[in-house]
């Protein structure tokens, strides 16, 4: 077996330097005693160490079947010793545990499908992250993002005015193509609140443009807030700061409720969907989102089926489609997504495996947000994705998720695949009927 590489991260190192055996023991036991119950007990007692989950994990497959990268191997390196030793583990152990849980598991939940007992390894890795959060040994870059959420209620330190400015700028830009186009801000009583993640106003404003074009050209009654609460993303969910996750999601739903919208449509992002549709709402007391949340994939499908979105010309190059974990395993949107892709892209080629069996991009679960120190390990840990992409033989891959874009981009670059990534909205925008365009 190749030697295990333990990566140095400033956040982990500085946090670990302040750890004491007492603190480690106290935080571990506090989380186990107060925040877990029958579920963890059942998982730990039921697991027969059969290793059937191993083949599910892209890290395991990409590391030549090294058991330390298997799902159960990750539990073996984290939860089991913590439980067995009743929290008495070393600082060195915790430094390794945080690397395993925070950077070598994408919480992609592929493995839960392979375990005969349905054991959810991602849940256990989330618990480890929670413990690491309490010990303040979370990797630097994702911790910084969690701080941004706390201070600005968005992921990218976007200030209140910068958000509005980005929208007004895109509205102005749009008017060259659609002279009467609008991005209606603060429209009380609109049908839809459109929400995005922090990077869109910061780096990917063209996505706001494209979404606004789709909204305008399909005649939607929509709005965007001019206040914090616009960002649906959530790295606090991935650092185990569930208190901050609750604060962020309350802000998001309060904003939609204040605007009196019927539904929230969100851009092409997977982790944000998980936070709004599954984890964040539930931590606040809601079984389901209090205001329906429609992911972009489902929204496009609705528009297409209602006849509001029409194909003007097709995108004829062969394309493949990457199923993001959080909206496919997390929401089952794979068939709807395919129907939209096929409507615009007749030369659609499946990657194998696909749908709920697709391999994760390896960026998800906050792994890419742990930043440069972990980049190489993340990319090397997903060689199988590169092989899977290469086998399709296509030069264009549609990936309807921000994190997937980040992760796949690095893989495409490192493994020299020469594949261009696109969001589905980008293809729709370029190929739909635009009745109001000049």
């Amino acid at each position: 077996m190749e030697e295990r590489v333990w990566i140095k991260d400033e956040g982990i190192e500085a946090g670990a330097a302040k750890l004491t055996p007492e603190k480690i023991e106290k935080t571990i036991n506090a989380v186990f005693d107060n925040e877990t119950g029958a579920r963890l007990k059942a998982y730990v007692e039921t697991c027969i160490h059969c290793g059937l989950c191993s083949d599910a994990c892209h890290f395991f497959l990409s590391h030549d079947r090294d058991p330390r990268f298997s799902p159960v191997g990750k539990v073996k390196q984290t939860i089991w010793p913590m439980l067995k030793n009743k929290g008495k583990v070393s600082v060195e152990f915790m430094k390794q545990a945080v690397q395993v849980a925070q950077t070598e598991c994408n919480l992609c939940r592929r493995c839960v499908q392979y375990c005969p007992f349905g054991i959810d390894i991602a849940y256990m890795m989330s618990l480890v992250r929670r413990i690491c959060h309490k010990q303040e040994i979370t990797p630097l870059y994702i911790q910084d993002t969690a701080h941004s959420h706390a201070a600005t209620m968005n992921q990218m330190w976007v200030k209140d005015d910068e958000w509005i400015d980005a929208l007004q700028w895109q509205e102005d830009e749009m008017r060259d193509e659609f002279p009467n186009a609008r991005i209606p801000l603060e429209k009380e009583g609109a049908e839809i609140m459109y929400s995005v993640i922090g990077p869109e106003p910061k780096f990917r404003t063209q996505l706001i443009y494209q979404a606004a074009a789709i909204m305008n050209e399909t005649g939607m009654d929509w709005t965007m807030p001019a206040t914090p609460g616009w960002d649906n993303s959530d790295m606090a969910m991935y650092t185990g700061d569930s208190e901050m996750m609750g604060r962020l999601k309350r802000m998001h739903f309060d904003t939609a409720a204040r605007l009196k919208v019927k539904k929230i449509v969100m851009g092409e992002c997977g982790h944000a969907f998980r936070s709004v549709y599954d984890t964040g709402n539930r931590v606040l007391g809601w079984r389901m989102p209090p205001i329906p949340v429609i992911h972009a994939l489902e929204f496009y499908w609705d528009l297409l089926n209602e006849g509001k979105l029409k194909v003007a010309k097709t995108f004829d190059e062969p394309v493949t489609f990457h199923d993001p974990c959080n909206v496919v395993r997390g929401r089952g949107l794979h068939e709807k997504a395919r129907e939209v892709v096929r409507a615009f892209c007749p030369n659609f080629i499946e990657m194998i495996p696909n749908r709920e069996h697709n391999y994760c991009c390896s960026a998800g679960g906050g792994v890419i947000n742990c930043g440069p120190p972990f980049k190489n390990a993340r990319v090397e840990g997903n060689r199988v994705k590169a092989e899977q992409l290469k086998a399709t033989g296509v030069k264009v891959c549609i990936a309807p998720c921000h994190n997937c874009h980040g992760g796949l981009e690095d893989i495409i670059h490192t493994f020299e695949l020469g594949i261009e990534l696109k969001f589905l909205g980008e293809i729709i925008y370029e190929h739909m009927e635009k009745p109001n365009a000049v």
Partner: protein, 421 residues
Amino acid sequence: MSEYAAWDWSVGSKTVANLAECDCEIQWREENQASPDGEQVAAVVNTGEGEFTVCVNGSCWEPRYERVWYLRYSPDGRLSGLACDEGDWTMCIDGEQWEETYGFLFNTMFSKDGSVIACCVADAMTYGMVVDGVAWENLYDNANNFHLSADGQKTVAVVQTVPLGQAEIFKFKEGVYSVAVDGEAWDVNFVNAWTPRFNADNSSVAAQIRLNLFDYTIAVDGKPWNTVYSQVWEPLFHPKNKSIVTPVRISGKWGMAQDEKIIWQPHFYQVWQQQFSPSGDRLAAIVCPEYGRWTLAVDGKTWNTTFGDMVMDLTFSPDGRRLAALGKQDTKWTVIVDDRVWSGQYDMCFAPVFSPDSQHVAARVEKKGKYTIAIDGKEYGQNFDQCFDPTFSPDGSKVLIRAIAGGKYLRIVEPVANIIG
């Protein structure tokens, strides 16, 4: 606009404006706003490429701007819009702009009576607030959670007092945020601060703070409470004294603390949006007593009716004896008053409005894209394409309905008795 009592309360319906008519050439008309007295309807209009103004009852403001947005009526009936001319921003009120211009203005706020108009400012990468045109003397690297006191005399915001570079997580944890009142920051920093609020006479400010990544509490005039919690929500001052109530989370459950003492035992899955009755005798909040079910609690006692989707817009009657809110179940909204639910189910309901004598509750409601108002659960006979919140006459016997139907803006005064039958 005249005083509320002096508004035209004579029963009848009139067309105030035909929305298709405007004394200037317009390309498009944006969202309509109705004045509180119902005598005006206004909207931002586009008058040519990159040129905007405001049309009020068919007549346009004189100035033209590159952009006008966030057009809103102040409670005293003045119409304000944030306006941009050659890259400089100002507030335009009834067609007259502030003398001052700034890099960017946003988030207009009004005092309760509307006599003060404030907003937030971003100028040369510094942030603060502007009141009636005048900006804080000190602007900050960042500011948010802006708030204007009810009487408009004081402003407050969370401010960043120490510069923070990229990924400086250790500096962040030392605390770089504070609270600034009229631009003057407390002399203490916290890891985070949120939702600063004034007491009744503006002599005190309370805010949520985070002391490190885990300990949350309330700071009053810069001084944190001694007790810390795993979570808190927005603090609220008692209307008559300096006592503060705030939802707090202890051992995984939410309760209510008053000045650090637990007054509602922490047995809720959620508690938020607490409100005092006007006299301060009663305290109500939106609560989640059982996982996935939502209702109100008054003085800690939970209502019997619960909703699965959400509860919003808790409103006390002026006499403090009655309480209304909106509840949503299986995607349909309704109004709940004193633990009794209206029979109507709506696609949307807007915040309930009490009559001054506290006898009646009205709300704007919507079904399948058609709007009307309802009082005590009975709908007004006519549906509209758009409708604004209803207002009761001072004696509570009539209701003012402001609505748009067939491209015309209508002002209707109707006896309440005609609606409730």
